[in-house]
Protein backbone atom coordinates (compact mmCIF):
# COMPACT_ATOMS: atom_id res chain seq x y z
CA UNK A 1 0.00 0.00 0.00
CA UNK A 2 3.04 2.29 -0.15
CA UNK A 3 1.80 3.23 -3.61
CA UNK A 4 -1.03 5.20 -2.06
CA UNK A 5 1.24 7.84 -0.67
CA UNK A 6 3.62 8.13 -3.59
CA UNK A 7 0.81 9.64 -5.66
CA UNK A 8 -0.48 12.10 -3.13
CA UNK A 9 1.42 14.61 -1.10
CA UNK A 10 -0.16 16.58 1.67
CA UNK A 11 0.40 19.92 0.00
CA UNK A 12 -1.33 19.01 -3.24
CA UNK A 13 -4.23 17.64 -1.24
CA UNK A 14 -4.73 20.96 0.44
CA UNK A 15 -3.66 23.66 -1.97
CA UNK A 16 -4.82 23.19 -5.54
CA UNK A 17 -8.35 23.79 -6.73
CA UNK A 18 -10.32 20.87 -8.12
CA UNK A 19 -10.73 22.26 -11.61
CA UNK A 20 -6.99 22.93 -11.90
CA UNK A 21 -6.16 19.41 -10.73
CA UNK A 22 -8.64 17.88 -13.17
CA UNK A 23 -7.17 19.96 -15.99
CA UNK A 24 -3.77 18.50 -15.11
CA UNK A 25 -5.24 15.02 -15.25
CA UNK A 26 -6.70 15.90 -18.64
CA UNK A 27 -3.31 17.09 -19.83
CA UNK A 28 -1.78 13.70 -19.06
CA UNK A 29 -0.80 13.78 -15.37
CA UNK A 30 -3.24 10.98 -14.59
CA UNK A 31 -1.73 10.28 -11.16
CA UNK A 32 -3.17 13.62 -10.02
CA UNK A 33 -6.60 11.98 -10.13
CA UNK A 34 -5.63 10.56 -6.74
CA UNK A 35 -5.93 14.06 -5.27
CA UNK A 36 -9.52 14.29 -6.47
CA UNK A 37 -10.23 10.79 -5.27
CA UNK A 38 -9.01 11.61 -1.77
CA UNK A 39 -11.09 14.77 -1.71
CA UNK A 40 -14.36 13.42 -3.05
CA UNK A 41 -14.78 9.68 -2.77
CA UNK A 42 -16.46 9.78 0.65
CA UNK A 43 -19.00 12.37 -0.45
CA UNK A 44 -19.70 10.39 -3.62
CA UNK A 45 -20.17 7.26 -1.54
CA UNK A 46 -22.65 9.03 0.71
CA UNK A 47 -24.51 10.32 -2.33
CA UNK A 48 -24.85 6.83 -3.78
CA UNK A 49 -25.82 5.22 -0.46
CA UNK A 50 -28.47 7.90 0.04
CA UNK A 51 -29.79 7.29 -3.45
CA UNK A 52 -29.88 3.49 -3.55
CA UNK A 53 -29.47 2.32 0.04
CA UNK A 54 -26.92 -0.36 -0.81
CA UNK A 55 -23.32 0.01 0.40
CA UNK A 56 -21.84 -2.52 -1.95
CA UNK A 57 -23.48 -1.01 -5.01
CA UNK A 58 -22.42 2.44 -3.80
CA UNK A 59 -18.79 1.32 -3.60
CA UNK A 60 -18.93 -0.06 -7.12
CA UNK A 61 -20.42 3.18 -8.34
CA UNK A 62 -17.70 5.29 -6.70
CA UNK A 63 -15.13 3.19 -8.55
CA UNK A 64 -17.10 3.62 -11.76
CA UNK A 65 -17.17 7.41 -11.45
CA UNK A 66 -13.38 7.69 -11.15
CA UNK A 67 -13.05 5.23 -13.95
CA UNK A 68 -15.12 7.44 -16.21
CA UNK A 69 -13.26 10.57 -15.13
CA UNK A 70 -10.06 8.94 -16.27
CA UNK A 71 -11.61 7.83 -19.51
CA UNK A 72 -13.12 11.23 -20.33
CA UNK A 73 -10.39 13.33 -18.78
CA UNK A 74 -9.58 15.19 -22.00
CA UNK A 75 -13.17 16.37 -22.38
CA UNK A 76 -13.19 18.24 -19.07
CA UNK A 77 -13.37 22.02 -19.47
CA UNK A 78 -11.59 23.73 -16.54
CA UNK A 79 -14.02 26.65 -16.87
CA UNK A 80 -16.75 24.23 -15.76
CA UNK A 81 -17.25 23.47 -12.07
CA UNK A 82 -15.52 20.20 -11.26
CA UNK A 83 -18.16 19.27 -8.69
CA UNK A 84 -20.95 19.72 -11.23
CA UNK A 85 -19.04 17.62 -13.77
CA UNK A 86 -18.40 14.89 -11.19
CA UNK A 87 -22.07 14.63 -10.23
CA UNK A 88 -23.13 14.56 -13.85
CA UNK A 89 -20.92 11.52 -14.27
CA UNK A 90 -22.20 10.09 -10.99
CA UNK A 91 -25.85 10.41 -11.99
CA UNK A 92 -25.18 8.78 -15.30
CA UNK A 93 -23.32 5.89 -13.66
CA UNK A 94 -26.27 5.50 -11.28
CA UNK A 95 -28.73 5.33 -14.16
CA UNK A 96 -26.62 2.70 -15.92
CA UNK A 97 -26.49 0.69 -12.70
CA UNK A 98 -30.26 0.77 -12.27
CA UNK A 99 -30.70 -0.39 -15.84
CA UNK A 100 -28.14 -3.18 -15.46
CA UNK A 101 -29.69 -4.52 -12.28
CA UNK A 102 -33.24 -4.35 -13.56
CA UNK A 103 -36.37 -4.55 -11.45
CA UNK A 104 -35.13 -7.38 -9.21
CA UNK A 105 -32.85 -4.88 -7.46
CA UNK A 106 -35.76 -2.65 -6.50
CA UNK A 107 -37.00 -5.33 -4.14
CA UNK A 108 -33.53 -5.61 -2.62
CA UNK A 109 -33.30 -1.89 -2.03
CA UNK A 110 -36.66 -1.78 -0.29
CA UNK A 111 -35.78 -4.54 2.11
CA UNK A 112 -32.38 -2.98 2.67
CA UNK A 113 -33.88 0.38 3.47
CA UNK A 114 -36.22 -1.18 6.05
CA UNK A 115 -33.40 -3.09 7.66
CA UNK A 116 -31.28 0.04 7.77
CA UNK A 117 -34.12 1.99 9.40
CA UNK A 118 -34.33 -0.71 12.09
CA UNK A 119 -30.60 -0.48 12.70
CA UNK A 120 -30.86 3.24 13.13
CA UNK A 121 -33.74 3.03 15.57
CA UNK A 122 -31.81 0.48 17.62
CA UNK A 123 -28.78 2.75 17.93
CA UNK A 124 -28.42 5.25 20.77
CA UNK A 125 -28.39 8.14 18.30
CA UNK A 126 -32.07 9.24 18.54
CA UNK A 127 -31.88 10.16 22.23
CA UNK A 128 -29.64 13.14 21.72
CA UNK A 129 -31.97 14.41 19.02
CA UNK A 130 -35.12 14.10 21.10
CA UNK A 131 -34.00 17.19 22.94
CA UNK A 132 -33.98 19.01 19.63
CA UNK A 133 -37.49 17.82 18.93
CA UNK A 134 -36.44 15.52 16.09
CA UNK A 135 -36.36 11.76 16.04
CA UNK A 136 -33.37 10.78 13.91
CA UNK A 137 -34.57 7.29 13.07
CA UNK A 138 -37.83 8.76 11.88
CA UNK A 139 -36.00 11.41 9.92
CA UNK A 140 -33.91 8.73 8.25
CA UNK A 141 -37.01 6.81 7.28
CA UNK A 142 -38.63 9.96 5.98
CA UNK A 143 -35.53 10.58 3.82
CA UNK A 144 -35.73 7.06 2.43
CA UNK A 145 -39.40 7.51 1.56
CA UNK A 146 -38.87 10.78 -0.20
CA UNK A 147 -39.28 10.52 -4.00
CA UNK A 148 -35.89 10.15 -5.67
CA UNK A 149 -35.74 13.57 -7.30
CA UNK A 150 -36.49 15.29 -3.99
CA UNK A 151 -34.07 13.11 -2.07
CA UNK A 152 -31.38 13.82 -4.62
CA UNK A 153 -31.70 17.57 -4.39
CA UNK A 154 -31.54 17.41 -0.58
CA UNK A 155 -28.50 15.15 -0.68
CA UNK A 156 -26.71 17.46 -3.10
CA UNK A 157 -27.56 20.68 -1.30
CA UNK A 158 -27.41 19.51 2.31
CA UNK A 159 -25.06 16.54 2.54
CA UNK A 160 -22.72 17.55 -0.26
CA UNK A 161 -22.98 21.26 0.49
CA UNK A 162 -23.14 22.09 -3.20
CA UNK A 163 -23.79 25.60 -4.45
CA UNK A 164 -27.14 26.22 -6.13
CA UNK A 165 -25.43 27.11 -9.38
CA UNK A 166 -23.55 23.78 -9.42
CA UNK A 167 -26.75 21.87 -8.68
CA UNK A 168 -28.43 23.76 -11.53
CA UNK A 169 -25.66 22.62 -13.84
CA UNK A 170 -25.95 18.99 -12.71
CA UNK A 171 -29.73 18.93 -13.03
CA UNK A 172 -29.80 21.05 -16.17
CA UNK A 173 -32.11 23.76 -14.84
CA UNK A 174 -32.11 27.41 -13.74
CA UNK A 175 -30.68 28.47 -10.36
CA UNK A 176 -34.09 29.86 -9.40
CA UNK A 177 -35.65 26.46 -10.09
CA UNK A 178 -33.11 24.82 -7.78
CA UNK A 179 -34.16 27.10 -4.91
CA UNK A 180 -37.81 26.26 -5.45
CA UNK A 181 -37.04 22.55 -5.67
CA UNK A 182 -34.94 22.54 -2.48
CA UNK A 183 -37.82 24.27 -0.72
CA UNK A 184 -40.38 21.78 -2.05
CA UNK A 185 -38.15 18.86 -1.11
CA UNK A 186 -37.76 19.98 2.51
CA UNK A 187 -41.52 20.59 2.75
CA UNK A 188 -42.19 17.11 1.38
CA UNK A 189 -39.71 15.69 3.88
CA UNK A 190 -41.50 17.51 6.66
CA UNK A 191 -44.86 16.07 5.62
CA UNK A 192 -43.53 12.51 5.44
CA UNK A 193 -41.84 13.00 8.80
CA UNK A 194 -45.07 14.11 10.43
CA UNK A 195 -47.01 11.29 8.81
CA UNK A 196 -44.53 8.75 10.20
CA UNK A 197 -44.72 10.39 13.60
CA UNK A 198 -48.50 10.03 13.64
CA UNK A 199 -48.22 6.42 12.48
CA UNK A 200 -45.82 5.75 15.35
CA UNK A 201 -48.05 7.43 17.93
CA UNK A 202 -51.19 5.51 16.93
Amino acid sequence: MSRVFSYVTVSTLVNTRDNVVMAEVGAGQVARLAVLFERHHRALFRYFVSMNGNREVAEDLVQEVFFRMLRYRTSYDPAQSFTAWMYQIARNAGVDQVRKRGSAQVVDIDSFVDRRAELVSASPGPEESVSRGQDLALLRRAMDRLPEDKREILVLSRFQGMKHEDIAEVLGCEVGTVKVRVYRAIRALEQIYFALEKEKAS
Binding site: A31, F37, R71, N92, G125
Partner: protein
Protein backbone atom coordinates in the same frame (compact mmCIF):
# COMPACT_ATOMS: atom_id res chain seq x y z
CA UNK B 1 -40.83 40.63 -1.17
CA UNK B 2 -44.02 38.53 -1.04
CA UNK B 3 -44.56 35.19 0.72
CA UNK B 4 -43.95 33.24 -2.49
CA UNK B 5 -40.52 34.81 -2.95
CA UNK B 6 -39.73 34.45 0.74
CA UNK B 7 -40.32 30.68 0.66
CA UNK B 8 -37.52 30.10 -1.82
CA UNK B 9 -35.15 32.12 0.34
CA UNK B 10 -35.88 30.24 3.55
CA UNK B 11 -33.02 27.80 3.13
CA UNK B 12 -30.71 30.31 1.51
CA UNK B 13 -28.64 31.25 4.52
CA UNK B 14 -27.70 27.69 5.34
CA UNK B 15 -26.15 26.93 1.98
CA UNK B 16 -22.57 27.99 1.31
CA UNK B 17 -22.33 30.94 -1.04
CA UNK B 18 -25.97 31.88 -0.55
CA UNK B 19 -27.45 34.78 1.37
CA UNK B 20 -30.98 35.51 2.38
CA UNK B 21 -30.59 39.27 2.28
CA UNK B 22 -32.25 42.23 3.96
CA UNK B 23 -35.51 42.04 2.02
CA UNK B 24 -36.09 38.56 3.34
CA UNK B 25 -35.38 39.67 6.91
CA UNK B 26 -37.82 42.53 6.48
CA UNK B 27 -40.51 40.15 5.20
CA UNK B 28 -40.06 37.80 8.15
CA UNK B 29 -40.35 40.70 10.56
CA UNK B 30 -43.73 41.58 9.11
CA UNK B 31 -45.12 38.11 8.31
CA UNK B 32 -46.00 35.72 11.11
CA UNK B 33 -46.75 32.76 8.77
CA UNK B 34 -43.38 32.88 7.05
CA UNK B 35 -41.58 33.40 10.33
CA UNK B 36 -43.07 30.21 11.80
CA UNK B 37 -42.49 28.22 8.65
CA UNK B 38 -38.95 29.45 8.31
CA UNK B 39 -37.96 28.43 11.81
CA UNK B 40 -39.68 25.04 11.42
CA UNK B 41 -38.04 23.98 8.17
CA UNK B 42 -34.82 25.63 9.26
CA UNK B 43 -34.74 23.26 12.25
CA UNK B 44 -35.46 20.29 10.01
CA UNK B 45 -32.72 21.42 7.65
CA UNK B 46 -30.26 21.62 10.55
CA UNK B 47 -31.23 18.23 11.92
CA UNK B 48 -30.40 16.57 8.60
CA UNK B 49 -26.84 17.23 9.66
CA UNK B 50 -27.29 14.84 12.59
CA UNK B 51 -28.01 11.82 10.40
CA UNK B 52 -25.19 9.30 10.66
CA UNK B 53 -22.67 9.55 7.83
CA UNK B 54 -22.07 6.35 5.89
CA UNK B 55 -18.36 5.69 5.34
CA UNK B 56 -17.02 3.52 2.54
CA UNK B 57 -14.86 0.49 3.34
CA UNK B 58 -11.12 0.47 2.68
CA UNK B 59 -11.70 -1.59 -0.44
CA UNK B 60 -12.77 1.50 -2.36
CA UNK B 61 -9.37 3.12 -1.99
CA UNK B 62 -7.52 -0.07 -2.74
CA UNK B 63 -9.45 -0.60 -5.96
CA UNK B 64 -9.00 2.99 -7.02
CA UNK B 65 -5.21 2.91 -6.70
CA UNK B 66 -5.08 -0.42 -8.41
CA UNK B 67 -6.98 0.98 -11.35
CA UNK B 68 -4.89 4.13 -11.47
CA UNK B 69 -1.63 2.21 -11.33
CA UNK B 70 -2.74 -0.16 -14.02
CA UNK B 71 -4.00 2.63 -16.19
CA UNK B 72 -0.71 4.51 -15.99
CA UNK B 73 1.29 1.42 -16.85
CA UNK B 74 -1.21 0.58 -19.55
CA UNK B 75 -0.83 3.93 -21.21
CA UNK B 76 2.82 3.19 -21.79
CA UNK B 77 2.79 -0.50 -22.63
CA UNK B 78 -0.46 -1.69 -24.13
CA UNK B 79 -1.40 -1.09 -27.72
CA UNK B 80 -5.00 -1.20 -28.82
CA UNK B 81 -4.66 -1.72 -32.56
CA UNK B 82 -8.08 -0.78 -33.92
CA UNK B 83 -8.85 2.02 -31.56
CA UNK B 84 -5.51 3.75 -31.67
CA UNK B 85 -5.72 3.88 -35.43
CA UNK B 86 -8.68 6.22 -35.07
CA UNK B 87 -7.86 9.88 -35.19
CA UNK B 88 -7.78 11.44 -31.72
CA UNK B 89 -10.37 13.99 -32.80
CA UNK B 90 -13.07 11.37 -33.30
CA UNK B 91 -12.63 10.12 -29.74
CA UNK B 92 -12.85 13.58 -28.36
CA UNK B 93 -16.06 14.22 -30.25
CA UNK B 94 -17.46 10.91 -29.06
CA UNK B 95 -16.56 11.70 -25.46
CA UNK B 96 -18.14 15.12 -25.75
CA UNK B 97 -21.31 13.56 -27.14
CA UNK B 98 -21.41 11.08 -24.29
CA UNK B 99 -21.04 13.85 -21.75
CA UNK B 100 -23.71 15.85 -23.49
CA UNK B 101 -26.00 12.90 -22.88
CA UNK B 102 -24.97 13.04 -19.24
CA UNK B 103 -25.89 16.70 -19.13
CA UNK B 104 -29.36 16.18 -20.53
CA UNK B 105 -30.69 15.60 -17.05
CA UNK B 106 -31.37 11.92 -17.08
CA UNK B 107 -32.65 11.25 -13.60
CA UNK B 108 -32.64 8.25 -11.33
CA UNK B 109 -35.32 5.72 -12.07
CA UNK B 110 -36.21 7.32 -15.37
CA UNK B 111 -36.68 4.63 -17.94
CA UNK B 112 -34.98 5.84 -21.03
CA UNK B 113 -34.44 4.63 -24.51
CA UNK B 114 -31.95 1.82 -24.72
CA UNK B 115 -31.04 2.70 -28.28
CA UNK B 116 -29.49 6.10 -27.45
CA UNK B 117 -26.24 5.93 -29.36
CA UNK B 118 -24.35 8.29 -27.02
CA UNK B 119 -24.99 6.07 -24.01
CA UNK B 120 -24.09 2.94 -25.91
CA UNK B 121 -20.89 4.67 -26.93
CA UNK B 122 -20.12 5.61 -23.36
CA UNK B 123 -20.57 2.07 -22.12
CA UNK B 124 -18.38 0.77 -24.90
CA UNK B 125 -15.61 3.15 -24.01
CA UNK B 126 -15.72 2.22 -20.35
CA UNK B 127 -15.58 -1.43 -21.39
CA UNK B 128 -12.50 -0.78 -23.49
CA UNK B 129 -10.82 0.86 -20.54
CA UNK B 130 -11.46 -2.21 -18.40
CA UNK B 131 -9.87 -4.24 -21.15
CA UNK B 132 -6.87 -1.93 -21.09
CA UNK B 133 -6.42 -2.35 -17.35
CA UNK B 134 -6.76 -6.15 -17.46
CA UNK B 135 -4.36 -6.53 -20.39
CA UNK B 136 -1.77 -4.22 -18.96
CA UNK B 137 -1.77 -5.88 -15.53
CA UNK B 138 -1.42 -9.35 -17.02
CA UNK B 139 1.78 -8.25 -18.75
CA UNK B 140 3.55 -6.90 -15.67
CA UNK B 141 6.79 -8.18 -14.15
CA UNK B 142 5.35 -8.85 -10.73
CA UNK B 143 3.28 -12.00 -10.23
CA UNK B 144 0.88 -10.24 -7.89
CA UNK B 145 0.17 -7.61 -10.57
CA UNK B 146 -0.46 -10.36 -13.12
CA UNK B 147 -2.76 -12.11 -10.65
CA UNK B 148 -4.73 -8.90 -10.27
CA UNK B 149 -4.87 -8.60 -14.05
CA UNK B 150 -6.42 -12.06 -14.19
CA UNK B 151 -9.09 -11.05 -11.68
CA UNK B 152 -9.76 -7.85 -13.64
CA UNK B 153 -10.52 -10.03 -16.66
CA UNK B 154 -13.82 -10.94 -14.96
CA UNK B 155 -14.90 -7.36 -15.52
CA UNK B 156 -14.63 -7.46 -19.29
CA UNK B 157 -17.30 -8.88 -21.55
CA UNK B 158 -16.72 -12.64 -21.97
CA UNK B 159 -16.83 -12.05 -25.73
CA UNK B 160 -13.58 -10.05 -25.56
CA UNK B 161 -11.15 -12.08 -27.66
CA UNK B 162 -8.12 -10.01 -26.83
CA UNK B 163 -8.47 -10.60 -23.11
CA UNK B 164 -9.28 -14.26 -23.68
CA UNK B 165 -6.13 -14.70 -25.77
CA UNK B 166 -4.05 -13.04 -23.08
CA UNK B 167 -5.52 -15.45 -20.50
CA UNK B 168 -4.62 -18.39 -22.74
CA UNK B 169 -1.06 -17.06 -23.08
CA UNK B 170 -0.93 -16.76 -19.29
CA UNK B 171 -2.18 -20.33 -18.81
CA UNK B 172 0.48 -21.63 -21.20
CA UNK B 173 3.48 -19.47 -20.43
CA UNK B 174 3.23 -17.70 -17.08
CA UNK B 175 6.16 -18.76 -14.86
CA UNK B 176 4.03 -18.55 -11.70
CA UNK B 177 1.77 -21.51 -10.82
CA UNK B 178 -0.79 -19.42 -8.95
CA UNK B 179 -1.19 -17.04 -11.87
CA UNK B 180 -1.61 -19.98 -14.27
CA UNK B 181 -4.23 -21.55 -12.00
CA UNK B 182 -6.17 -18.32 -11.66
CA UNK B 183 -6.08 -17.88 -15.44
CA UNK B 184 -7.57 -21.36 -15.95
CA UNK B 185 -10.50 -20.35 -13.73
CA UNK B 186 -10.83 -17.00 -15.46
CA UNK B 187 -11.37 -18.75 -18.81
CA UNK B 188 -14.68 -20.20 -17.58
CA UNK B 189 -16.90 -17.23 -18.53
CA UNK B 190 -15.45 -17.35 -22.05
CA UNK B 191 -16.60 -20.94 -22.54
CA UNK B 192 -20.16 -19.75 -21.96
CA UNK B 193 -20.14 -16.92 -24.47
CA UNK B 194 -21.42 -17.64 -27.99
CA UNK B 195 -18.68 -15.47 -29.49
CA UNK B 196 -15.74 -17.19 -27.83
CA UNK B 197 -16.80 -20.58 -26.51
CA UNK B 198 -15.29 -22.64 -29.36
CA UNK B 199 -11.96 -20.84 -29.16
CA UNK B 200 -11.92 -21.06 -25.39
CA UNK B 201 -12.63 -24.78 -25.39
CA UNK B 202 -9.93 -25.43 -27.97
CA UNK B 203 -7.48 -23.34 -26.01
CA UNK B 204 -8.08 -25.43 -22.89
CA UNK B 205 -7.57 -28.69 -24.81
CA UNK B 206 -4.35 -27.40 -26.34
CA UNK B 207 -3.07 -26.15 -23.02
CA UNK B 208 -3.19 -29.62 -21.52
CA UNK B 209 -0.05 -31.13 -23.15
CA UNK B 210 1.88 -27.92 -22.47
CA UNK B 211 1.53 -28.15 -18.70
CA UNK B 212 3.94 -30.10 -16.54
CA UNK B 213 2.82 -28.92 -13.10
CA UNK B 214 0.38 -31.50 -11.65
CA UNK B 215 -1.89 -29.00 -9.90
CA UNK B 216 -2.45 -27.03 -13.12
CA UNK B 217 -2.90 -30.24 -15.10
CA UNK B 218 -5.64 -31.31 -12.67
CA UNK B 219 -7.34 -27.91 -12.93
CA UNK B 220 -7.44 -28.21 -16.72
CA UNK B 221 -8.69 -31.80 -16.59
CA UNK B 222 -11.49 -30.83 -14.18
CA UNK B 223 -12.43 -27.97 -16.43
CA UNK B 224 -12.66 -30.25 -19.48
CA UNK B 225 -14.70 -32.80 -17.53
CA UNK B 226 -17.07 -30.07 -16.45
CA UNK B 227 -17.46 -28.99 -20.09
CA UNK B 228 -17.86 -32.64 -21.15
CA UNK B 229 -15.37 -31.82 -23.88
CA UNK B 230 -15.03 -35.04 -25.85
CA UNK B 231 -12.44 -33.58 -28.20
CA UNK B 232 -10.07 -33.78 -25.25
CA UNK B 233 -10.45 -37.58 -24.99
CA UNK B 234 -7.41 -38.50 -27.17
CA UNK B 235 -5.09 -36.30 -25.10
CA UNK B 236 -6.56 -37.60 -21.83
CA UNK B 237 -6.03 -41.21 -22.97
CA UNK B 238 -2.43 -40.43 -23.90
CA UNK B 239 -1.90 -38.99 -20.43
CA UNK B 240 -3.40 -42.04 -18.71
CA UNK B 241 -0.81 -44.24 -20.40
CA UNK B 242 2.15 -41.87 -20.03
CA UNK B 243 4.39 -43.19 -17.20
CA UNK B 244 6.21 -39.83 -16.96
CA UNK B 245 3.05 -38.10 -15.78
CA UNK B 246 2.24 -37.81 -12.09
CA UNK B 247 0.09 -40.76 -10.93
CA UNK B 248 -2.54 -38.48 -9.32
CA UNK B 249 -2.93 -36.62 -12.60
CA UNK B 250 -3.29 -39.88 -14.52
CA UNK B 251 -6.04 -41.02 -12.14
CA UNK B 252 -7.81 -37.69 -12.60
CA UNK B 253 -7.59 -38.06 -16.40
CA UNK B 254 -9.11 -41.52 -16.11
CA UNK B 255 -11.94 -40.17 -13.96
CA UNK B 256 -12.58 -37.37 -16.47
CA UNK B 257 -12.79 -39.86 -19.35
CA UNK B 258 -15.41 -41.82 -17.42
CA UNK B 259 -17.41 -38.69 -16.75
CA UNK B 260 -17.47 -37.79 -20.41
CA UNK B 261 -19.05 -41.11 -21.44
Amino acid sequence: MNCEQAKTQMLGGTIPGENQGEEFAAHLASCETCRTESSRIGALWQSLDLLPVEEPSGKVRERFYEMLGAYRQGQASVTMPVKQAWPRMIWQVAAAAALLAVGLGIGYGVREDRSRPELVQLREEVASMRQLVALSLMQQQSASDRLRGVSWSYQVEPSDEEVMNQLVTTVNHDPNVNVRLAAVDALRPFTGSPATHLMARNAVIQALPKQTTPIVQVALIDFLAELKERNAAPELRRMVSDPDIDSGVRKRAEWALERMQ
